[in-house]
Amino acid sequence: MLFNKVYLGVLIICFIILSCKKKNVETNEQVLSISEGYLVLNEGLFNQNNASLTWYDGKTGNVTLDVFQTNNQRGLGDTGNDMMRYGDKIYVVVNVSSIIEVLDANTLKSVKQIPMIAGNKSKQPRNILGYGSNVFVSCFDGYVDVIDTVSFQIIKRIKVGDNPENLCLLNQQLLVANSGGLNPPQMDSTISIVDLNMLSEVKRIIVGINPGNIIKGLKDHVYVISRGNYNDVVPRWKLVNVISGEIEKNFNENILNMEIFQDSLLLINTNNKSLSLFSMKKNTSKLNDFISLSGFVNLYNIQFLPNKNEICITDANGYVNQGYVSIFDTNGKLKEKFKVGLNPSKIICYE
């Protein structure tokens, strides 16, 4: 009987000890100073709230994997889709969280968080571009939002095509790739031309199903990748004359992404293992012979930094692991390689 009483007493004490868990909520208000280096947007994974900004310090070589959280004591949100520096601000487009995070470019402290909600629906912002006193944000609900860079208020919503994505500037006009990606198999196949003085759409040009990337070419031309329907219509990239609205050239290569590089385009082939160089003047392309892609697991994005003459290539490294950024000079020599967050995409260079 004594055994049972002792046993019962010990048991109750065990239950109470097991049930009481001390909460350790420590706050860390340290702010990392930003000077020379690279700021990387890591998209993160859908529904995991793990979009992040990685800071690579060019002087020390130190990497701060989530500098946004370090400097703001909170997370960036879910699925960072685009980032740009405009003036002394950094604008980060966070797609699933449906916000634009505006940061002071010198401190990376949040200045303003702009909610992108229409009624009870998320607008799902995708890409961003600055012009004059405004920044323009393509939203998946079929609009381009115009945000005043002083008040950070949305001053106008411009109706464009279905599920707009990438943006580019050409002759004081904003070009918007309308993917229509949420309407398979009847996806959109147009780009919208928005007059930046009137802040309204003035024209649409048919360029091919599911347009994604759009890049300014020479004179009145843009290069567009139409990504096909992921089934029987294969991706193609095209040269489009914006004035005439004509597709002047259809290229047969299966291109995932492209980036302007001096007077050429860097093209990533969809097998992720080949990089081509396309001369916009000569209209000819050749396989890259200066950067080896053999060490990349999942080549994710390519970006040319014109002010430093550097080519940055991001590696998604299996998409569910921390990725890498490799920085090459224009001769293809690897200058830096550092670990970043999940699915690194955009890079801003600090000098």
Partner: protein, 651 residues
């Protein structure tokens, strides 16, 4: 109003039955399953009494009381709940309701959150396929099986039986369950119904960086109906069972907590029909069961926030499954040798509208099992060989045929060895087929996809130590050709491939102590601890190589204390412990999901009348210490909440 009329009707029917005179019944031989030693992690059982003592909400929560099981709980009441056993995903398990397998070939797993628990007589988890149970062939060839035995399915010689349970809980939870069973001379019929509703608007806390935020769960409501009818007939050495079950639910899908955006508005409508029939024959040395089951599940997913031209996404899926089979065991000339075997044919189809599937898949499966059980010189040997014949229809009229063999061997000592107890050893190799969802992802048919294979090795023993019952199992599992979904060219284009390999080592420890003083108090304590090291061996170049796979905790445990006073007052304290897990296979801090300790307490008062009626009143506090916890990252769980339950049982 509709459900009020439903309950009125049920009540009128029940009391008209009770008012009739009872007649004496002839003695009926009931075919029952034999219980085995309880602390064997290859054959675990949770009884009705244990279930009634805990503040359960569905079968999912109860399965945490099974050693080796890791629950994936995507929310409280009404939330999706699936489980894995020793690092082996739930796709390898067969969930059975009254010994009929529940099928879903679209996702391959059954949502345990949708299975009601009020009528459960016992839950049995088997990793050793014992042929004497006459389980369907599909469960014998699976890695493990979970059988849920309900009150309606148990044959009773009583003329009338009635069960009623009503619950009211936090967040407007309202459950009502009523079941009536009428016994005839050698037949019985049972009818049951349950309605459950819940607004789900519970407060929760979550961490964003270093800050803790408070919020209210939105779009988390639930309304569901369960109803069904059972017929049972016993005549000499034969038993017939037939049953129809209907389930309907409408619920909000709150999803994971998304920082800065709480506008989730997705909804899910489900309607299931199940028709089961079986004929069991137990004659001399020959036992057999012939069975058939037809199941159809309609699912409608709607997303009014979807940004397409229609302004809403509506997707419809209909899963249909037909299975017929025969299973038998026979004793060889009154010897210690038993043979068993069986065959089952299954047909699965999936029809969808407005989805990415451009093809409605169809699959025929033939399953065959043959084995022997030998009881010799104090040892029990069990040998089994399985074969799957699979025919999957592909796009364009082509078909793919596969033939896969598997099997297992099990040895158990039948008498106690000093110090060691009752040792057992099992090796089992099983497989699971790719689901329709994996085969037809993104409109692409994954033609190279092979079955996922599991090899299980277990060495265990059961023993008595002083006044404690103890069960210990050491195990090692190897999962080959693990089916993994990975993005290909970008995050929009996914591919499903056999690239995974997982090696799991671990141990299960169960300890039970019972103190019984008939007149005053009984004390029962039970503790379960599981250690699982489930490591990713997929690719030596991967950052997650030899790291713990996602959502498998290294340590899990439960501790239950039941105190019963004068057989009237029952106090229960139940604690569940989960160590930290990783949300992704890469074991880094940013993927870490905190562990938690969860305590539930309940106190019940019950009394019996002379007319064989029992009333019971139960008050429970769930999450007593208001822990902020998540099983799956950002799928937040409710804080402290309360539940009052009133039950009535006749006979």
């Amino acid at each position: 109003m509709k459900h009020l009329l439903f309950y009125l009707g049920m009540f009128c029917f029940s009391f008209s039955l009770l008012a009739q005179n009872q007649k004496e019944l002839k003695e009926i031989v009931i075919l029952q399953k034999q219980d085995t030693f309880s602390l064997n992690s290859l054959d675990q059982q949770i009884t009705r009494k244990e279930i009634q003592a805990i503040p359960y909400e569905d079968v999912g929560v109860i399965t945490q009381k099974i050693a080796g099981i890791s629950l994936k709980n995507y929310g409280g009441l009404g939330g999706l709940k699936t489980f894995s056993f020793r690092g082996i995903s739930g796709n390898h398990s067969v969930v059975m309701l009254n010994e009929f397998a529940l099928n879903n070939h679209q996702v391959g797993q059954i949502d345990l959150g949708g299975i009601q628990a009020e009528n459960i007589e016992n839950i049995r988890f088997n990793s050793v396929s014992d042929p004497s149970f006459l389980y369907p062939v599909s469960s014998l060839v699976a890695a493990n099986s979970l059988n849920i035995q309900t009150f309606e399915n148990t044959f009773s010689a009583e003329k009338y039986q009635l069960r009623f349970n009503s619950k009211y809980g936090s967040y407007s939870q309202l459950d009502n369950y009523l079941s009536l069973k009428k016994g005839f001379q050698n037949k019985s019929v049972a009818i049951y119904g349950k309605r459950r509703s819940f607004d789900g608007a519970y407060p929760f806390k979550y961490m964003n960086g270093e800050n803790q935020f408070d919020a209210i769960r939105k779009n988390n409501d639930l309304l569901e109906w369960n109803t069904g009818i059972h017929f049972s007939s016993i005549k000499e050495y034969k038993r017939w069972n037939a049953a129809y079950h209907f389930y309907q639910s409408e619920k909000g899908l709150p999803g994971s907590v998304i920082f800065y955006n709480d506008f989730a508005s997705q909804r899910l409508f489900t309607k299931n029909h199940i028709v089961n029939m079986e004929r069991i024959v137990c004659k001399n040395n020959f036992n057999s069961k012939t069975y058939g089951s037809y199941q159809t599940s309609e699912m409608r997913y709607s997303d009014p926030s979807y940004l397409n031209n229609k302004g809403e996404l509506i997707q419809n899926y209909q899963n249909n499954s037909l299975s017929v089979g025969e299973v038998f065991n026979v004793n060889w000339k009154d010897s210690t040798l038993d043979f068993f075997g069986g065959g089952e044919y299954q047909l699965h189809t999936l029809v969808s509208q407005n989805t990415t599937l451009v093809y409605n898949p169809k699959r025929h499966i033939g399953m065959f099992v043959f084995g022997a059980k030998i009881d010799k010189k104090g040892y029990l040997y069990h040998l089994q060989l399985n074969n799957h014949q699979v025919l999957t229809h592909k796009i364009g009229g082509f078909s793919e045929y596969q033939s896969i063999f598997s099997g297992n061997i099990f040895v158990e000592k039948k008498s106690v060895i000093k110090v060691i107890g009752l040792p057992r050893l099992q090796f089992k190799r099983t497989m699971r087929l790719p689901t329709f969802g994996e085969l037809f992802i993104n409109t692409i048919y994954e033609k190279e996809l092979k079955p996922e294979l599991v090899n299980q090795l277990d060495l265990g023993t059961s023993m008595y130590l002083n006044k404690f019952k103890v069960g210990i199992d050491l195990y090692a599992n190897l999962i080959e050709n693990k089916i993994v979904a990975i993005p290909t060219k970008n995050l929009f284009l996914w591919s499903v491939q056999n690239v995974g390999k997982v090696f799991t080592q671990g141990a299960d420890l169960s300890i039970e102590h019972n103190f019984l003083n008939e007149s005053t108090i009984s004390i029962r304590t039970k503790g379960i601890y599981s250690f699982q090291s489930a490591l990713d061996y997929s690719s030596i170049t991967s950052p997650s190589y030899k790291q713990q796979i996602a959502y498998i905790p290294r340590h899990t445990g439960t501790l239950d204390l039941n105190l019963e006073f004068y057989k009237k007052v029952l106090f229960n304290w139940s604690t569940t412990i989960l160590s930290s897990r990783y949300a992704l296979n890469e074991n880094i801090n940013s993927n870490l999901v905190s562990g938690f300790t969860l305590s539930d307490v309940s106190i019940a008062y019950s009394f019996k009348t002379k007319k064989q009626s029992e009333f019971k009143c139960n008050f429970s506090v769930k999450n007593l210490f208001n822990a902020s916890y998540q099983y799956i990252r950002y799928y937040v769980m409710p804080g402290r909440n309360y539940l009052i339950s009133l039950s009535y049982a006749f006979q």
